[in-house]
């Protein structure tokens, strides 16, 4: 009879240990195993990602010459770009025989916010600002042509937006120019 009691108590003890001690620990162990697997995957991905980045950076070193042209063409500071552009216009006009008569206006236009339609993925927004300078010069046709060519050959991307002139008899033509460049 006493053996049966021990058997019964033993079964109860096994069930209690299994339910209250072993099972929760087992669950904890399983969850840790999953966390370890995830972290190992994370580590592999991070290592792969940075290895790729390091390889890309090394590859880009070969294109340093080409890449160095981007910064002057697309400078970081729009305010200093305006100042340097006006300075450049003044120098280039006098070098090409034009007379800078008047700086009519300049403006910095920030990029418009993209219109997002529902459900469509968000488009990365360009940070490029347009810098417009409106000015008046006077000089000959060929001086103007050379001046435009100087603008084209500069390290900046300069585009002619508007060009107008009129010749009044023997007077030196007065030329209105509106040019555009870009910055961040």
């Amino acid at each position: 009879m006493s053996k049966l009691i021990f058997i019964f108590l033993g079964i109860v003890a096994i069930l209690a240990i299994g339910f209250f001690l072993v099972w929760p620990e087992y669950q904890k162990f399983e969850s840790l195993k999953v966390d370890i697997e995830n972290n190992e995957l994370d580590l592999r991905q991070v290592e792969d990602y940075f290895t790729k980045l390091e390889r890309t950076a090394k590859d880009l070193e070969e294109y340093q010459n080409q890449l160095s042209k981007i910064d002057p063409a697309l400078p970081d500071n729009s305010s200093s770009t305006v100042i340097s552009l006006i300075n450049f216009i003044q120098k280039a006009s006098s070098q090409n025989g034009l007379n800078l008569k008047k700086l009519k206006s300049f403006s910095i236009i920030s990029p418009k916010l993209p219109t997002q339609t529902a459900g469509a993925p968000a488009q990365p927004q360009s940070k490029v600002k347009d810098i417009l300078v409106d000015f008046k010069v006077s000089g000959s046709y060929f001086a103007l042509k050379n001046f435009i060519q100087t603008l084209e050959n500069s390290a900046k991307i300069i585009e002619v937006e508007n060009l107008s002139f009129s010749v009044e008899k023997e007077e030196t033509p007065s030329i209105d120019l509106k040019i555009k460049t870009f910055s961040y």
């Binding site: 053996k3 021990f6 162990f29 840790l32 950076a57 697309l74 060009l163 010749v167």
Partner: protein, 178 residues
């Protein structure tokens, strides 16, 4: 009354009960051992997880983060720069076009060029209608002239023929290969 001098044997316990008891004892010990075994592995796994987390953090070193930021900024700049470069126009081609397509006897007095709309307004004067007609033909033959319109044709006090041309310029004219 019969006196029994040989003691009676006690009730015999079935052998399966003993086997079951031993089995239960083994199972009980195993579960206790299993519990401590699990705790040991949990401790080990916990340490491994901490080491891995530290390794992941170490892999994202400040130098690597700096490299990542630098490359991301360069990539954004290239993405922004590429369309600007592709859309960049060679405005001076416009002057070559004018030089190649102006009649020697035509004198342009006013020019209005809108690069955005690729629209050109040209006012000028010449000696006679024949020259004006030839100038019109020259423009019409040019592959870069579109929507040509001649207007405001009149004779000035000096007897010269005054006129205005309005037309659109083919964007190909401003390609760098031209």
């Amino acid at each position: 009354m019969v006196i029994e001098i040989i003691p009676k044997k006690g009730a015999k316990i079935p052998s399966w009960q003993s086997y079951l008891l031993y089995f239960i004892i083994v199972l009980l010990l195993s579960s206790i051992l299993g519990y401590f075994g699990l705790r040991y592995f949990i401790k080990k796994s916990d340490q491994k997880l901490k080491d891995l987390t530290a390794e992941v953090e170490k892999a994202k070193s400040p130098e690597r983060k700096l490299l990542k930021e630098g490359l991301e900024s360069l990539s954004a700049k290239i993405d922004d720069f590429a369309p600007l470069l592709l859309g960049h126009q060679k405005s001076s081609n416009f002057f070559n076009f004018l030089e190649e397509n102006t009649h020697p006897k035509v004198f342009f007095t006013k020019l209005d060029f809108d690069a955005k709309a690729n629209h050109l307004g040209l006012s000028g004067q010449t000696d006679d209608f024949l020259t004006l007609g030839q100038q019109l033909l020259i423009f019409r033959k040019s592959e870069f002239v579109q929507n040509l319109k001649l207007s405001e044709v009149k004779i000035s006090k000096e007897g010269k023929v005054e006129f205005t041309f309005d037309f659109s310029l083919n964007p190909k004219l401003f390609n760098f290969s031209q």
